[in-house]
Symmetry: C2
Subunit: 151 residues, 2 copies
């Protein structure tokens, strides 16, 4: 968690920011993911959203999940394939991804560089849901999604 | 204003995004500023904040203003000098700036490239206030601020 900043300026270097702690993506064992870190860039009682930066190493991926709350995502570095509902799309730096409510989504780094993205999210939000076997079967009915989930 | 996206993916090219309208920064004559454009990247009834991208041409600047609401800013391109309260600081791509409540602030592009920044802000927010002569005199009591305002 980033404390409310005393210094309004936080300099960037090497995809780290002054005074921002590099954190694990989630609690160990809470959900399946691979090679992801998290930095909370803005977290402030006066702001109704948070801005976080996630970085996924080559070969890594975020958790396949859904939730009521929405994500506003901007890719900052590298390349990924992204699942949103029944769509799989390649993305690159500065592309935007909007994750609607209760929509299955996952980010997978492609290529040999780390992939990093900003994610804006309501400060008050529900917990993510993980897919059960029936959910996965439904997702795999879409060939592009089946191929994505098989990688 | 960006409508709620139908397509969750919005590709980036040349600091424009698919389906995002390039808008004037503010209504003409509403407040003093120079050479600024605005694009609303995320605006969604399910998100309690908006994410906007502002771009300020070389020699341009945002309005000198303050308001109750907070800004969470990330520089995306170029370089600027930024005033926050009594501080003036140079910033570059990916640096963060936090504008606290009721704090005078202004962004001025430095160098020959356009300067662009993301700004996260509560969707429901108060209107900006402009400085009166007494406010300006108080600001100019800080030599660095006086020098910044003179440019």
């Amino acid at each position: 968690m980033t404390d409310k900043p005393i210094d309004p300026f936080r300099a960037f270097a090497g995809f780290r920011w002054d005074g921002v702690t590099l954190m694990p993506y989630k609690e160990e064992g809470a959900a399946p993911f691979k090679s992801v870190t998290r930095q909370v860039l803005f977290h402030d009682p006066d702001l109704k959203c948070e801005l976080r930066y996630f970085e996924v190493a080559p070969g890594g991926h975020s958790t396949l999940e859904r939730h009521e709350h929405v994500h506003g995502v901007m890719i900052l570095r590298g390349a990924a394939e992204v699942l949103v509902g029944s769509e799989v799309r390649p993305v690159k730096a500065f592309d935007l991804v909007h994750i609607p409510p209760l929509t299955w989504h996952q980010f997978r780094t492609t290529g040999s560089e780390p992939m990093g993205f900003l994610c804006m999210v309501n400060a008050e939000r529900d917990r993510p849901q993980l897919p059960n076997d029936a959910d996965l079967a439904e997702m795999r009915a879409h060939p592009a999604v089946a191929a994505f989930l098989a990688t």
